[in-house]
Amino acid sequence: MENLIWGTFEQLSEGLEKKQFSSVELTKAFIARTYAIDKSLKAFLNFDEKKTLAEAEASDVRRSRGQSLGRLDGVPVGLKDIFAEKGQRLTCGSRILEHFVSPYDATVVKKLKDAGAVLWGRLNMDEFAMGSSSENSAFQVTSNPWDLDRVPGGSSSGSAAAVAAGEVSLSLGTDTGGSVRQPASMCGVVGLKPSYGCISRYGMVAYASSLDQAGPLARTAGGVAALLQVLSGADPKDSTCARMHVPDYLAAVQSSEGKKWILGVPEEYFGEGLDSEVKSSVEKAIHFYEAQGYIVKPVHLTSLEYAIPVYYIIATAEASSNLARYDGIRYTYRSPRAKNIDEVYDQSRSEGLGEEVKRRILLGTYVLSSGYYDAFYGKAQKVRRLIYNDFMRAFAEVDVLVTPTSPVPAFKKGEKTSDPLAMYLSDLYTISVNLAGLPAISFPCGFTNRGLPIGCQLIGKPWEETTLLSMAYTFEKHHPFNLKIPNL
């Protein structure tokens, strides 16, 4: 049973269907793996083994009665600790929500339950999804499965690390500026950030509402497609969720001999600051597609230089308002020192929130405050339009853009914690995608000499998730970097 954990989603789903093993057996294998390695990996914040096994048992009962709910039925899925699951703690990696138990299910959680998925564990993250390394989690720092001294990326750190380390088959993260793609890239798994409005945000704790999107992670494009199939689509509880027709994502990854797309390579994404090993790996991937008959064209996305400033203005402005509700009054941590109402606010927030969160709240407060709004927030909204227009101009010529996901492979723990701005710069290639609301995928395209995974990013036109999945699938069929197993 030990090797069950390294099965791809397709193999596991088929094995369950053919009753080669049960969901309980499969789930127990992942649980055993978690017990064995998570003390050093620290991908899980908490889990409810009894509940999870009960879900697995229920799945097996369904299957034995011929009432399987589909391909996801019985497959263990891990959740970033940002999705509300009724009766489970929902910490967002923050002290201020340490003891909060959600009284309701997020729409994605409800959809996963309805599809028969077995929900295994609550995965570590940077506090309120603010960070790129898990070092902003109030509870623990997750390690990179390929090198325990290094970070797994973030903010969906646990979601990427757990999948890469065989603790769970699939996982769900969130991506506001790269938080699914960047850890996927650093941990050597596939991670998708869908178009804005593709997956309901109801019950997903907000960081920056206009940028946040849930995104699936898996070791294969097929696993990502299977999750997306279940999760995407309209939700009457989320006004920003698109009333879309859900395409057949699974079909997209089963027919790799699809159309030969026109690929754009934006020069700006291969400039200063890009690690040479990352660069050559991504270039190899581009050559692969070219060899497959795709047309490759150089393009320009000159607005890249504004991406990080615009992101940090918009995201922090929204965050300063979204996070105001964590105040020590109704359901969060209340400082025992507080003697009057002002102290309840000031001290509960000061003690309950971490440094990076406070820094971003202060920045967001600043850019919205009287006298600075026009110069910062107002202006950033216009530059956001500029970035969007820039992408649309490129997409008039090409179908898909190819770039590195992260300028560098996984960095050492503590390496960037003292310099917030340096940490922000590691999201350079992923951030514009969120500002423009586009879909993008990161998939493993190689390893460094040290054995660290490298991620290649494909950026698509709005609602072209199928194209991205199909291209990632084509690549992994020829170059199965995603099937390499870390030595843990």
Partner: protein
């Protein structure tokens, strides 16, 4: 860069975050760096561009019919996580 004056105490008051002396200095320096970096947006030529606030593009309204749903759990909904409650109400040190 413009707007380098940051009134950190005013911001902390608006955001309701207590900052002690040491942290106040660190935050102020970091914020000055970040704000300086973010001032780059001021250089962008965007005079004729409409702001882009959302990434969605709905046709028509997104709204619900006025049909009430009585919450299942009522007070329990709140009491489970409340830091302090008395007689079904949240209590705080006196306001005003």
């Amino acid at each position: 860069m413009m707007h380098s004056e940051i009134d950190i105490d005013h911001l902390a008051k608006l955001a309701r975050i207590e900052l002690d002396g040491h942290k106040r200095e660190t935050f102020l320096n970091q914020l000055q760096d970040i704000v300086g970096y973010c001032s780059k947006v001021c250089e962008a030529g965007v005079e004729n561009l409409e702001p882009r606030v959302h990434s969605f593009s709905h046709e028509g309204n997104f709204w619900a019919e006025d049909i009430p749903e009585y919450p299942e759990d009522g007070v329990d909904f709140l009491s489970r996580n409340a830091p302090e409650m008395k007689e079904k109400q949240i209590v705080v040190p006196r306001v005003l």
